[in-house]
Amino acid sequence: MEPASISGEQWAARVSGEALDLAQCMQFVEDPGAGAISTFSGVTRNSFKGKAVVKLEYECYTDMALKKLKARAQDVCEECCQKHAIIRLAVAHRVGEVWVGQPSVLIAASSAHRLEAIQACHWVIDALKATVPIWKKEFFEDGSIWKENAECQLLGNSSEGLA
């Protein structure tokens, strides 16, 4: 797919069929006021429960995913900005085939002090897994399966965290 993106002054979200670029995310969050930059890369690994994994294939409800990524980015920025803490946040997710060793998701956050940047990455990946409409299929030598995130609460009785 063609890259689709949405951004504000402090945040940028992107969904793309092309290889993700960590340097690009880093560049977005760089700032003379930043004392810390933290990143998170989610990567296809070669096995799941002892079974060899060949690749993952991601599918995305692009319009809704960007809307949710925007909401998550704004949550982080607004909460942290009250503490003058987070400066910028970038998140990018790949769709289509992602081979072993390649990243499917990148997050970069900058802040004045180190704790907020690290926590922002942590929080955004958790929130992404719980609320952003993206799906992955895991391909083994002999078959494939649609994955379900443990963080996904869509089928629970509670709609907490789905806003």
Binding site: Y61, K129, E148, L154
Partner: protein
């Protein structure tokens, strides 16, 4: 009056299409839409109810009954697995 329906992941594979359009009446809801979809795409029964609808890019609570209007975009959202 038509509503756009999107299918993703396993629901897309079961339906055999990624998108369709369904005519709705004034009294139609997500409940009547579901009946219609299960009739048109019987393979969706294999989902065994493990999905929610989204309406215009917002999740609906599972099993909730929400009125539909022309131009709405509804999607079938199986358990997500991004990241």
């Amino acid at each position: 009056m038509a509503v756009k329906i999107l299918f993703f992941a396993r629901s897309r594979e079961l339906a055999g299409v990624s998108e369709t359009s369904v005519a709705v009446q004034a009294a139609d809801t997500t409940e009547s839409l579901l009946s219609h979809l299960l009739e048109q795409f019987p393979a969706l029964k294999e989902l065994d109810g493990r999905f929610v609808f989204s309406l215009n890019h917002e999740y609906l609570e599972r099993g909730s009954v929400v009125p539909l209007k022309a131009g709405d975009e509804v999607a079938i959202i199986p358990p997500i697995s991004g990241g």
